[in-house]
C-alpha cells in the first residue's frame, strides 16, 4: 500500500519560510496572497495490505519520526 503523509506546522507555530514565500509571491505580482504556510509531503510504500494495520503502522512512523508532534500535525491518506 502507498501512504501519502502530509506534515504541517501547528497553528500558532511561526513559519518564517512560509512568510518568505508569501513575500516572494507578492513580489511576483500575485496581489491576492493572504497567507502561506509551508509543509512537507511524504510517500511511503508499505508491504502491509490490510488497511487498518497499514494505517496504524504509518501512524506509529509519524509519531516516532516523520513528524515532531511538539510543533507539527500529520495527516495520512492510504491508497
Amino acid at each position: 500500500m502507498k501512504a501519502k503523509v502530509k506534515v504541517t506546522l501547528k497553528k500558532g507555530v511561526l513559519d518564517p519560510q512560509g512568510k518568505a514565500i508569501e513575500g516572494a509571491l507578492t513580489h511576483l505580482g500575485f496581489g491576492g496572497v493572504e497567507h502561506v504556510r509551508q509543509g512537507k509531503y511524504f510517500e511511503i510504500d508499505v508491504a502491509e495490505t490490510d488497511k487498518a494495520k497499514a494505517l496504524s503502522e504509518v501512524k506509529a512512523m509519524c509519531e516516532k519520526l516523520i513528524a515532531n508532534t511538539v510543533i507539527e500535525n500529520y495527516d495520512i491518506e492510504l491508497a
Binding site: L14, P16, Q17, K64, L65
Partner: protein, 220 residues
C-alpha cells in the same frame, strides 16, 4: 571527570568540544560513534554541534534515532549528565530528553556572531562556578535555534528556574521564546544550549568568558 563526545555523520564541532573538555578537566574525552550501542563508563556525555545528517527531515531528527541514543536516554534517566550544544541541543530535544523544539530562526538568516548570555540558574552541573545573573559573551552559529514550546512547558521552565541561559535584551539571535538560550531538565542532569561555550575558553578565542562553565564540571 570522565567524559565522552558523541559523533554523528555531519557533526563538525566535536574536536572543539573535546579540546575544551581536555583543556579544562585535564582528561581526554572518549569519542563515541553513533552506531555504538553502549556508552563507555563516563560522568558526562556531550552531544556536540554541527549538521548531523545535513539537517535532513528536521534538524537533529535523524541523529536522535541513532543506535547510541537508546543508551543515552536510558542512562540519562539514571542520572548520567548530558550536555547538548547547538545541533546537540536539537538532537537531545528531538530525542525527548528536553521539552520543546528548535525551529528555523524567526528572521530566516543563519547567525554566526557573539551574543551575551545571562546565567539564570547557577546551581547546575555546567554553571555552578558562575554567579547568578552574571553575563558572559558566547558565540552562536545556527540557522534553527528558535526555541519554542507550549505555554504549560514554558510556565514550568520559568517557574522551576529551568532556563539556565538567556540571551540578554536585544541580543536574541533567533526569536526564541522568552530569549531562551539554554534549559535544563526537571531532574537537573540534562542541559541543552544553542550557543557554543567551547569556542570561548581561552585568550586565542578572543575571550575566555565560558571557561568557568567547563570548570563547573569539575565541581559537579
Amino acid at each position: 571527570m570522565k567524559s565522552a563526545v558523541v559523533v554523528f555523520p555531519g557533526i563538525n564541532r566535536e574536536r572543539d568540544m573535546m579540546l575544551a573538555l581536555e583543556a579544562v578537566t585535564g582528561q581526554k574525552p572518549v569519542a563515541v560513534w553513533h552506531t555504538d550501542t553502549e556508552l563507555p563508563k563516563v560522568d558526562l556525555i556531550v552531544v556536540p554541534g554541527g549538521f548531523s545528517y545535513g539537517d535532513y527531515l528536521r534538524c537533529g531528527a535523524i541523529a536522535a534515532r541513532s543506535p547510541i541514543m537508546k543508551d543515552i536516554q536510558a542512562k540519562s534517566l539514571k542520572g548520567l549528565k548530558v550536555l547538548g550544544v547547538c545541533n546537540g541541543f536539537q538532537i537531545i530535544t528531538e530525542a525527548g530528553l528536553l521539552p520543546g523544539a528548535l525551529v528555523r530562526n524567526a528572521h530566516l538568516h543563519f547567525v554566526c556572531r557573539e551574543v551575551k548570555l545571562e546565567i539564570e540558574n547557577n546551581s547546575t552541573f555546567f554553571t555552578n562556578r558562575m554567579k547568578k545573573g552574571a553575563v558572559v559573551s558566547c558565540p552562536v552559529a545556527h540557522g534553527e535555534g528558535n526555541y519554542i514550546c507550549d505555554e504549560e512547558t514554558l510556565n514550568a521552565l520559568e517557574g522551576e528556574g529551568r532556563v539556565v541561559f538567556r540571551y540578554t535584551q536585544g541580543t536574541n539571535p533567533n526569536g526564541a521564546m522568552n530569549n531562551i538560550a539554554g534549559i535544563v531538565n526537571e531532574a537537573g542532569n540534562v542541559i541543552g544550549m544553542m550557543p557554543h561555550p567551547e569556542n570561548m575558553i581561552e585568550p586565542l578565542h578572543g575571550k575566555s568568558d565560558c571557561r568557568p562553565l567547563f570548570e563547573s564540571l569539575l565541581a559537579a
